[in-house]
């Protein structure tokens, strides 16, 4: 819709409402209430006039539109520093700009920008050679690594990697580069002399962080998502241990009841590794937030000598430190730093005291350490408030300075590690003020709007996606379990929730959300506009890994498409329209936005009909079904479709089912299917 059409329609509606007088006003209230609140479910909503508050009509009808004209007025350009590296001579700082698709190189003596190097789409991490001549940048949405000549500030060449390359690390001799490929869940080992990938090692589920021990022997890769587990079993997340000598996977170890492990670092003595992690309580009924009943955050400790693993809480009884992202141990091994990207804090840990605590755990003096909210007092030395959304950190080789990428403040904070006070930071010179949508992004990533700061939107929707878990949110425990759904490209897919009760994101994030999910004060009207605007207009799918570069379907995908759209069974019977895939899953979003009974309800569900989910980038979102029962797409038809209620599919051969799934995997962003 162009601008003139938008104006004309808004003008006409405005005129109509104006001339309808009081009836127009009441209609506006009714419409507002329907879109933002819906059925009143508690004694909380008794002042109708107050509810209208200041959710401006313009908010919902303008900058929440994904490609709307008005979006430009609510948006500004930012760099969004994500991860960092410091040169061995401590003279240069390398910063990836996630939104500006660039690598920034700063002179640390003057804090001046030396060069801004355009790289690929969504640069994630950077590693620098010891001589400071070359930098390697992973481009998460371009599926490659940029090799940069630091002196000239130019990309020399790019090396293809797996899907979604994120963390990376050089081996001790700087001959091999290890790259964690998030979306394809593997690790590329790149021979730097030949400039090519030599082997791709299977990793955990969504590996993001990777590091090498100071003695050069072990590479550890940590994962965001749990490996697939039995239905209603606790999540467990893999740490892939790679032998750096032969570049082969040596061991797969798991942190139980944990996920979203984003980064890993080693003590200088190479005997301990630290990782950040989240301990969700998705199997426990969400009856309260208090006492960590929704989730807690912890430091994962791996003893490379004994093989023992420990989870040490980072929270306190009444305050939680959400979304730990990066962990770094100082060169002298005395302090560890953790960036809490959801809490806007840096936790400083005394490593010797961490060692004391794990010794006491080994000796049986501390039981249930992983759930003990009092324990962090033993090893947390200081909590330092930071800018918005602290992500990657780098420490100077002499250990004197810690550099922190404050992603949504668009700046690098510099922490003096002796005084633990901030010094003059570095601005990445993005927009000089926060736009409405940036405010929305900050709110999305911040836990401050949850009771006791326990979790942010990101906590269940990391990288704006979903965490692969099913939560027990219904009033009656154990009923109506809810599989978390992605937030990517929601435009055109309303209503929301598996029961379809939320007709808009305003409703999803409004008063009901604060009442039943965050359990603290609701967003102000301005903040709700900002948050909804961000979610509906700014979150995209990464490129679909199963689509060909030209967008043409492969032979198997083409066959799968025919099955998806078929009207007859293999033996020639006509498939009723309601039983065809495409009837309920029409393009461009592959959802008819209606509820259907497809035979997937269980005796613990209070409804038999569920909202048809959209299928764009569906391959990213296992497990499947409303309660997360199906670990794979195959299971939808091989286990949970006995009566052909979820589309007629029981006549399909194994090959046909494979083709159908190949096609489903290729369904990307709606813009490809219009």
């Amino acid at each position: 819709m162009n601008i003139s059409n938008t104006f004309i329609i808004l003008f006409i509606i405005g005129l109509l409402l104006f001339f309808m007088g009081y009836r127009g006003y009441r209609w506006s209230l009714d419409h507002y209430e329907y879109m933002t609140i819906g059925e009143v479910t508690g004694d909380i909503l008794n002042n109708r006039e107050a509810k209208i508050a200041a959710i401006k009509c313009m908010g919902c009808h303008t900058y929440t539109k994904r490609d709307g004209f008005f979006l430009q007025f609510a948006k500004k350009d930012y760099s969004s520093p994500y991860n960092l590296a410091v040169s061995a001579d401590q003279r240069k700082l390398f910063v990836t700009g996630q939104e500006s698709d660039a690598l920034y190189i700063y002179d640390l003596e003057t804090n001046q920008l030396l060069s801004k190097v355009p790289v690929g789409d969504h640069p994630h991490s950077v590693a620098v050679t010891r001589d400071g001549k070359k930098a390697y940048v992973t481009n998460q949405w371009s599926n490659n690594v940029s090799v940069i000549d630091v002196e000239s500030g130019l990309v020399e060449y790019t090396i293809p990697a797996g899907g979604g390359p994120a963390g990376l690390v050089l081996d001790q001799n700087e001959e091999y580069l290890y790259v964690a490929n998030t979306y394809t869940s593997n690790i590329s080992v790149i021979d730097l002399n030949r400039g090519t990938e030599t082997v791709r090692l299977r990793a955990g589920n969504y590996p993001t962080g990777i590091n090498i021990s100071p003695d050069g022997r072990n590479v550890l890769a940590v994962s965001q998502r749990s490996v697939l587990v039995e239905y209603r079993d606790p999540p467990k997340t893999e740490i892939t241990v790679i032998n750096a000598t032969n570049r082969r996977v040596q061991q797969r170890i798991h942190f139980e009841e944990a996920h979203i492990m984003e980064n890993v670092d080693f003590a200088p003595t190479s005997d301990l590794a630290f990782t950040t992690l989240v301990r969700p309580r998705n199997l426990v009924p969400a009856v309260q937030v208090e006492s960590g009943w929704m989730m807690t955050f912890a430091l994962g400790v791996i003893s490379l000598e004994t093989g023992n693993m420990y989870q040490l809480p980072l929270d306190e009884p009444n305050t939680f430190y959400a979304d730990p992202y990066n962990v770094l141990i100082s060169p002298d091994g005395k302090l560890a730093f953790i960036s809490h990207s959801g809490g806007d804090y840096i936790s400083v840990l005394d490593v010797d005291k961490v060692r004391d605590v794990i010794r006491e755990i080994d000796e049986g003096m501390i039981l249930n350490a992983e759930n003990d909210l009092m324990l962090s007092d033993r090893y947390i030395k200081k909590r330092i408030p930071s800018g918005s959304n602290p992500k990657g950190m780098a420490i100077s080789p002499d250990g004197n300075y810690l550099y922190i990428a404050e992603r949504l403040s668009d700046q690098i904070a510099v922490l003096n590690t002796s005084t633990l006070e901030f010094e003059q930071g570095i601005s990445l010179k993005g927009a000089d003020q926060y736009s409405l949508l940036r405010r929305g992004e900050q709110l999305f990533n911040h836990s401050g709007r949850t009771f006791q700061n326990q979790y942010s939107c990101y906590s269940c929707h990391p990288d704006n996606h979903e965490d692969g878990l099913t939560y027990d949110m219904d009033f009656y425990p154990g009923e109506d379990l809810s599989n978390v759904q992605t937030l990517r490209e929601l435009a055109g897919t309303s209503p929301f929730k598996w029961n379809g009760n939320n007709v808009s994101i305003y409703m999803q994030c409004g008063m009901r959300f604060s009442t039943f999910v965050t359990r603290t004060e609701a967003f102000s009207p301005y903040d709700l506009n900002a948050l909804v605007g961000y979610i509906t207009s700014q979150i995209s799918h990464p490129p679909n890994l199963y689509r060909t570069e030209t967008g043409e379907l492969t032979e198997a995908q083409r066959r799968g498409k025919e099955l998806f759209e078929r009207t007859r069974t293999n033996d020639g019977r006509v498939i009723a329209e309601r039983d065809r895939c495409i009837t309920c899953h029409p393009p461009p979003n592959f959802t008819d936005r209606l509820k259907h009974d497809v035979g997937t309800a269980t005796d613990r569900d209070n409804h038999t009909e569920f909202l048809t989910p959209h299928l764009n980038n569906i391959y990213e979102s296992p497990p499947f079904l409303h309660d997360g029962r199906a670990n794979t797409l195959e299971e939808l038809w091989t286990i949970y479709n006995d009566d052909d209620l979820h589309g007629v599919a029981n006549d399909m051969t194994k090959d046909q089912l494979n083709d159908l799934i190949e096609y489903l995997l290729s369904l990307g962003s709606a813009r490809y299917h219009k």
């Binding site: 479910t41 508690g42 004694d43 909380i44 209603r232 606790p234 999540p235 009841e257 301990r279 969700p280 309580r281 998705n282 199997l283 426990v284 009924p285 009856v287 309260q288 208090e290 006492s291 960590g292 009943w293 807690t296 809480p313 306190e316 009884p317 009444n318 305050t319 039981l367 249930n368 759930n371 003990d372 909210l373 009092m374 007092d377 009771f451 006791q452 027990d472 009033f475 009656y476 425990p477 154990g478 008063m511 604060s514 009442t515 039943f516 359990r519 603290t520 004060e521 609701a522």
Partner: protein, 479 residues
């Protein structure tokens, strides 16, 4: 025709009237202190007594400028027989307090608009109501007494709108609940002592303003008795005055952090000979305290600096100065907590899991059972599941205690403190420890794979004010 000079006079007079009314309507200037002033009378023993239990004839709410020693004080509650416990609204434009218009009146809750000096009576009943404090949503919370032949006497926390409507009890246990204040997270912090079936120790509890999620905030160590309200400052530090029996009843100022109360409880000041009554943390970091150097002197207002020196601010040999509050920017605006309660659901949901099911896996819970005890005896008994969990649907607003027994009927755990659940409240307990300082293990509690145990509730009107007791027709009137 008016002369030019007359016009000028009219304009000048109008201007003066406008300016004076503007000045008057500003209320009490920033920096002023509001206190309870009590005649220093040998017959009145302030020490260790809640003010609402005393007659306190002539007690008044007054304000003064602490920066001008010796300046006059302004009596705010001139027409009251007695008035105590002032609390400022979030915008500093009003105070609420407990007052008695006549000697024969009970303590009732009143509000004074500091801009126009209008009083509003918020409660009007035959109980004593006291310790009011503003909530962030145009309501207040306060305590009112109850007395019952079988259970003794105590007090209950209530909320109400500023005009006295929507009077709503929010605690339902045989306790004395008093000294409510607000935490920045939106919960009400209050002091509570069990009175039935036996007298209990002082505890500091917190609950949401809708009466849900009541729980222990911090257990006061043995031998310590809190003497005033617990107050939070802008750095999430909480302060209280207390008497320590073990140190010869010396007066102390205790501090603990919101984040981690147990690990941070610290005695920051001990008075060797003097006595502390109440305190208020200033934004500057100092504490304003009601303090006297010895029993022979009345309480005055002192400033306790970070070094622990009480410096006099306002003292008068004829009056006690108690319960200071300061007119200054609020250290925080408490969160407005939403409520998920539904009157139609006359029950609450309770899920209990063992501290660590990982640990519990090595333990057998076979033969163990839970008893639910009400005010008048045993309400129900049921076995725990193999992982030690249980799941109960409990009648709302019913005080109960749980205890766990083995197959030989020996008590293994509990009884818990008195608990209650509001209409539609959902609650989880992880272990039998009242402190609830551990998070649950991430396992499906076996109990929720089965239907809930239904336990009927019963009404507890004797512990709370019934609707027809509060004479709302006379409340909410301005004077």
């Amino acid at each position: 025709m008016l002369k030019k000079s007359s016009l000028i006079i009219i304009v000048l007079v109008s201007g003066l009237i406008y300016i004076s009314s503007a000045l008057l309507s500003r209320g009490i200037p920033e920096g002023y202190v509001i206190i309870t002033q009590v005649q220093a009378d040998d017959a009145v023993n302030i020490s260790g007594s809640s003010l609402n239990k005393l007659d306190l004839q002539g007690a008044q709410i007054v304000s003064f400028n602490p920066d001008k020693p010796g300046s006059s004080i302004n009596v705010l509650t001139q027409n009251f027989y007695s008035a105590i416990s002032p609390e400022l609204s979030l915008d500093n434009r009003s105070i609420v307090f407990a007052g008695r218009k006549e000697a024969t009146d009970n303590w009732q809750i009143w509000m004074l608009n500091l801009r126009n000096s209008r009083f509003t009576q918020i409660t009007n009943n035959n109980r004593d109501c006291f310790d009011p404090v503003f909530l962030p949503d145009e309501r207040i919370t306060f305590s009112c007494t109850w007395e019952e032949e079988r259970y003794g006497s105590g007090s209950t926390l209530y909320t109400a709108a500023l005009d006295g409507r929507f009077l709503n009890p929010i605690t339902y246990h045989p306790h004395t609940d008093h000294s409510g204040t607000m935490l920045h997270d939106g919960r009400i912090l209050f002091i509570s002592e069990q009175v039935y079936p036996e007298a209990g120790k002082q505890k500091i509890l917190a609950l949401r303003p809708d009466g849900t999620k009541s729980g222990l905030f911090i257990q006061i160590p043995d031998g310590i008795e809190i003497t005033g309200k617990v107050r939070e400052n802008r750095d999430k530090q909480l302060f209280m005055t207390a008497i320590n029996e073990e140190s010869g009843n010396r007066s102390n100022v205790l501090r603990f952090s919101y984040n981690n109360p147990y690990n941070s409880l610290t005695n920051i000041y001990t008075s060797e000979t003097g006595e502390l009554h109440s305190l208020y943390p200033e934004n500057s970091g100092d504490l304003l305290v009601s303090y006297r150097k010895n029993d022979a002197e009345p309480f005055g207002i002192f400033r306790l600096d970070p070094q622990g020196n009480p410096l006099p601010v306002h003292i008068d040999s004829e009056y006690h100065f108690l319960e200071p509050v300061i007119v200054e920017e609020k250290p925080f605006i408490p969160r407005k907590l939403p409520s998920a309660l539904r009157e139609a659901r006359n029950f609450g949901i309770v899920v209990f899991v063992e501290t660590s099911q990982a640990l519990a896996e090595s333990k057998s819970f076979e033969g163990e059972k839970v008893q639910v005890i009400g005010l008048d005896g045993l309400l129900d008994e049921f076995p725990v599941f193999e992982d030690g969990s249980f799941y109960v649907r409990m009648g709302a607003r019913t005080p109960v205690r749980f205890q766990k027994l083995n197959s030989s009927d020996e008590i293994l755990e509990g009884p818990t403190p008195w608990l209650w659940f509001m209409t539609g409240e959902r609650r989880g307990f992880n272990s039998w420890d009242e402190k609830q300082l551990t998070a649950p293990a991430n396992r499906v509690p076996e109990a929720i794979n089965h239907s809930y145990i239904e336990i009927s509730g019963f009404d507890t009107p004797r512990l709370v004010i019934k609707n027809d007791e509060n004479l709302l027709s006379e409340a909410g009137h301005e004077y």
